[in-house]
Amino acid sequence: MSRTRQLMTALRAQLGASDPQPAPPPVPAIPPPPARVYSPRPERSAFAAEAARHTTALLGIGHVGTRYATDVVLQFQAELAVAHAAVGAELPDGWAAANGFVGLTTRVASHREFLLRPDLGRRLSDAALAELRARCTKGVDVQLIVADGLSAVACMATGKQLHDAVARACGARGLGVGTPVAARFARVWLEDEIGQETGAKVAMILLGERPGLGTGDGLSAYVVYDPKLGKTDGDRNMISNIHARGTPPDEAAARLAALAAAMIEQRTSGVTLDLGRLGEVAGGRGYRAPQVRQRLVGG
């Protein structure tokens, strides 16, 4: 026997020649674990009930070992799926025309390029620029733009409704609104070029915002005075989370029209716009309403 074989044989003897593991214990009785349900009912957790009055964070959800209960896992996965579906959705060809908008495209060619090249989503394609020049009214007070942004789902759900509400609210303040346009693969700063081309005093883009967990349906509105290429974020005012469970479209429209009127009156926007003179209606330079978390799985 070789030296190596001898060593192995001795080692095997030392470890015990048969099964490397002892027999498992007898099979125990396994009763179903107690129900652990997302959004615990008040009778189960007073803490969760109290916390839910102050925050939408998922608190009081318990644990199995150090991990989540199955119900929590499913709720989490459903919320994640909603967010990813919103990001992945695209505005269908013809959506703009079917909803009474002049359809515009940007320099972006594909959804992946849209995510990777924000610079291309800030500029109109040559064809769209020609279309805009041919079909849109010039020299208006407010140019509204509906766009997909990072959630075409939100745009399709609430874009038309919000556009019409803002147009009405502007009209009620005596502000003239431009030809309705809707842009695909668009970023916020696209409002600068569109506003510049239409010679609008104020440009306002209403677009799908970056989804959060379980929330793919929020629109944001960005408003800028004297729109032209080269404006920066500091030149804009915004309202986010516009949808039925956040800031409802009609309420947002009233705020947005007030902002536009203030910009025209003060001839500025962004950090230099005096919001103090607007009172409660504008709700600060960036306003976000709290939001209610929905149960997505089951009844």
């Binding site: 916390a51 102050h54 964070a57 989490f76 994640l80 995510l115 990777l116 970056r210 929330t215």
Partner: protein, 453 residues
Amino acid sequence: MQLGSTIRGVRYTFASVKDVLAKANPPKSGDDLAGIAARDAVERVAARAVLADLTLRELREHPVVPYEQDALTRYAEDELDAQAFAAIGHLTVGQFREWLLDIETTGPTLRAIAPGLTPEMAAAACKLMSSFDLMTVGAKCQVVVRANNTLGLPGRLSSRCQPNHPTDDVEGILASAREGLAYGCGDAVIGINPATDTAASTAEILRVIDDLLRRNEVPTQHCVLSHVTVQMKALALGCPMDLMFQSLAGTEAANTAFGISGPLLDDAWALMKERGTTRGPNRMYFETGQGSALSSAAHHGADQVTIEARAYGLARRYKPFLVNTVVGFIGPEYLEDGPQISRAALEDHFMGKLLGLPMGCDACFTYHARMTQDELESLKVLLGAAGCTYLMSLPVGDDIMLNYQSTSYHDIPTLRRLLGKRPTPEFDAWLDARGIWRDDAPGPRFGDVAAVR
């Protein structure tokens, strides 16, 4: 200095050290966006071959932003430790990589040479390393810091508890912080990103968290992550403040866009030494992330890994208690997907540790980046194995204000058990006394918010 190499008979030449550094990077969408990435995988290796033969002295002589144009370059050059640099300046980047990986090169030695490294040297080594290389060296580095407790000891994994709220409802923040503590999270800091960036709001949140920590005798630190100028005003209001926070970028121009400068940070640090409420000596908290300079067109044509290292060069001037990259927050135009985010997290941890920082990581994604939850969970294990000082923690990992996905209250105890890690010793003792965590397992009051009044 040789800026060309030959691969399979094809000659590749590069315009500058900056160009070599950029093209040697593994693929990043942000380098593509900046138009500075290698054309293909072969050119990338050609750049690495050039980089491997450059000496650390040559890197020192060719910073990616010129000395005359940038205060961060001047800090790195003027404050470099001559003795430490003399020990390593003659090495090529390839030799430096091998020296870092050598078993004989230990944590204390790495600590000794850290003051002799410019950020560009750390970035250069990074570009020649695989994930295992980055983890192996990162795990060797020892950076131990102290405020109210002691962070970064071997065998420890800490967490920031991040009970953010979209409208700064203090009852909502408190409920989340209590739950986090009941899961053993928060030994690095209870740190809140405020929705409202005002001194009054910062002071109010700090007072509420201070009461919570005192009432329960929790050995940790608090911080509200408003702009540094806002926190300085809050301190003037007389509020408690254990750590002062600021986001940092890797060029002077990018920091100007953040509304900060070296002199401002000097003032903030001096104020914290005088008025901060921890025993110290470490009192500052910084966050960084690849791509931030490019987002304000302040990158000077340099790649995002090298610029990130330069942010660490700025951070180390202030002997911080916490520094973390917020690696997946910036979005897919800079880090496209799971592989790019994971790679960046390991790069940032390695570079920060090598430069002497107590490096943590906000391992995270936004919902428009292509990263799955499974990839994110895997990344947390990689970071834990690499000796990452701390991760974040939130309810289900969901930031309800900033709308992104990070580490959860449940993930931290899970990781500690998987990797055999413990929280800071002071916090470990507190968890034991409260019955939340015993030795290496959940205690009888684990997850029970009644354990934290």
